[in-house]
Symmetry: C2
């Protein structure tokens, strides 16, 4: 009897632990222990694809024998279960299935339905396969799935929506002006589905909205992130393929923000094995100013297809900050810009240790020119880096040898 009481007491106490607040209206979801994630195998995958408008599938290797790796796998399973639990309401559950499948069971059909990478998460919508290439956490995944459930084209009907459209400077956006839901609009819509939810498509049937944006009938504009002026897609009306090809050619922006929802995709899209990476905390005074300078540089160089700067706001990635500080030997409380070799994470960073001034846009452009021409690179300094006794210290790597001796390198060496 006493044991039962003790048990009930401990259950009660733990309930209090997890619902810290005695008040109602703010109960943070904890996994309730109910399994909702379906196991997909050779026998049931066709049925599952048919049943749901959206099928989310984690394609994985069999569960390992090693305990540490099992723990990790369980964490991934919990992320999927919590996502399924949170999205379990009548409206969504009918449309969305969350599943996982051992690669073993799936080999035969994997190629057919478009699975390529074991360990990836795929979303099936209509005839398309969308790879989720972001942080595998419940909140990122929930947002991603809700985005995919929405219409791929958002309508702009009034001045309020137009102002909202103009505020989205961090995103790649396309907007088209059409007479109505005719074949030209349909082509635009078909194109949008191929990029959902990563690239945003807008349309208007409204003359005054079109006039404000200087859009002609059946014209489509492409807004690169942080650019004030759009690029007009050549030709009109445009076919689906015209639009798809244009977007594929222009989607690597001159300045692009790293986001949790597609961070791995962005990182894999390197420039011949390197990334130019800028760390800037938008809420920090230096970070904000540095970002403004970066935007100026991007606007000046928007026509240079060689240049793409990945902007990382450390505030968006609290779990990665110390990893980056260690890997790149940086202090991320200050803005930083550097070149990262993606095959070995070797890197060189512009010296901005002088507290007084951030570099001007011109100085930054000179440095970027040196990077693109190879004068600043991650290889030349390896010898001195190897000699460092304590590679974990927060020091900018010595970049002296990476400069052309004819250059005035006082601006960015850390001698």
């Amino acid at each position: 009897m006493q044991q039962i009481w003790l048990f009930l007491l401990s259950v009660l106490c733990l309930c209090l632990v997890f619902f810290c607040s005695a008040e109602e209206g703010l109960e943070f979801p904890n996994f309730d222990g109910k399994d909702r994630v379906l196991d997909i195998n050779e026998r049931n995958y066709k049925k599952a694809l048919k049943r749901y408008d959206l099928l989310c599938l984690f394609y994985h290797e069999p569960v390992p024998a090693n305990k540490g790796l099992q723990k990790r796998f369980q964490m991934t399973e919990l992320v999927l279960e919590l996502t399924a639990q949170v999205l379990e309401n009548k409206d969504i559950a009918k449309k969305l299935g969350i599943t996982k499948s051992f690669s073993h069971y799936y080999n035969a059909s994997a190629v057919y339905i478009g699975l390529e990478e074991v360990g990836s998460l795929y979303v099936f919508k209509d005839d398309r396969v969308i790879e989720f290439d972001g942080e595998l956490s419940s909140d990122t995944l929930v947002e991603f799935l809700l985005d995919v459930l929405e219409d791929p084209v958002e309508m702009i009907n009034n001045a309020m929506e137009l102002r909202a459209f103009e505020r989205m400077e961090e995103d790649i956006r396309l907007i088209g002006y059409f007479k109505g839901e005719d074949s030209h609009y349909k082509a635009f819509q078909e194109a949008s589905e191929r990029f959902q939810p990563y690239i945003k498509f807008f349309a208007t049937f409204d003359k005054s909205v079109a006039k404000h944006l200087s859009l002609k009938m059946n014209e489509v504009n492409f807004y690169e992130p942080f650019m004030e002026e759009p690029v007009i897609l050549p030709g009109r009306p445009l076919s689906e393929m015209d639009i798809v090809e244009f977007v594929n050619q222009h989607r690597r922006a001159t300045l692009r923000k790293l986001r949790a929802e597609n961070m791995f995709e962005t990182w894999e899209d390197d420039m011949d094995g390197i990334h130019i990476v800028a760390f800037a905390e938008e809420e920090d005074p230096d970070g904000y100013e540095f970002l403004e300078i970066l935007k100026d540089v991007a606007r000046d160089n928007t026509n240079n297809p060689e240049l793409s700067i990945v902007w990382i706001d450390p505030d968006d990635f609290p779990l990665l900050t110390t990893y980056w500080e260690k890997t790149f030997k940086l202090d991320l409380f200050r803005p930083q810009i550097g070149v990262v070799n993606v095959t070995d994470a070797d890197s060189v960073w512009l010296d901005m240790s002088n507290d007084e001034d951030l570099p001007t846009a011109e100085e930054l452009e000179d440095w970027i020119e040196d990077v693109l021409s190879g004068r600043v690179n991650t290889e030349d300094d390896d010898e001195s880096a190897d000699n460092q006794e304590n590679p974990d210290d927060y020091v900018t790597e010595d970049t002296d040898e990476s400069h052309d001796p004819d250059d005035d390198d006082d601006d960015y060496s850390d001698d």
Copy 2:
């Protein structure tokens, strides 16, 4: 032999699973299986408090026998372990200890060192105890701990930092002008430590910064969130207690944003058992406009101590959105404002189903007046709510009976 190969293969494959990207520089941290969180008991707590500048302690009940609850507890443990792993670098690890303690072991000393609530997380810094009352996830906790490690007073030395200060409209901020690190500044600093990291304290020793902010020597200004003009703290120079008392009196802002880092604290700070809650997605056109109207209302009513509106941006809480939609029977794709009873989560919401227009600031003020006078409340409609056949449907609760019959209630009933 074959078994070993299979094991190695599965280890290798799982490594691929968890480090999705073959490229370096973006490895998302997974728990490495190493235990770093210390168990604190009667014997070692004094030593631990002495050893670390900052001690983070999760104060919990013994682990339960029930399997589901065990799983939840393990998730909390994983959050702590991942936090400790991520913050494990030479600089921080010396200063920060992350620990957990069974309430059983701790009863004797708990009162003495200021622990009150089982299931809470406390941070010990110098002689103070700070309760963490936010979302128990690694990223929120890492950010919180890094904030607590910083100096509680931030200096504003130049125009750039001043601009950043002026951009922080969502935060409660205090700023003082002092000659230097004299006794008046010290009093300000001591006060700041009592509110770190929830309320931001700034100081300047610079004449031109002070002039720009119209600050006299030894004067302290208090900025309420979203207000353009600050309130001047009465009297100068001010003692620590003057400042502490003023902040305690004024910290419940007319419009306050719900944040992951102190969401439960905000929710517990209700107004006689209710909250006025506004849902508005800042990135959404309607949400943005509605927020602008809310700011106007807050500015008009900043001197009303009875009024405090909790603004929730659903984008900040993807895991809670469906919970709120279900609990409050709302569609959160649109802005909403309502009254929530925190004892039973019963609620009534202003009807804004007319797609064309958001309410004007005046209409909103009329409604708020009805709420504060009790004419709109969560009790009067209970009978009709009980009669609803399907309480999970997304409908605004019938609020007709909550209005004074003399009022023109066409604006917000959903008849």
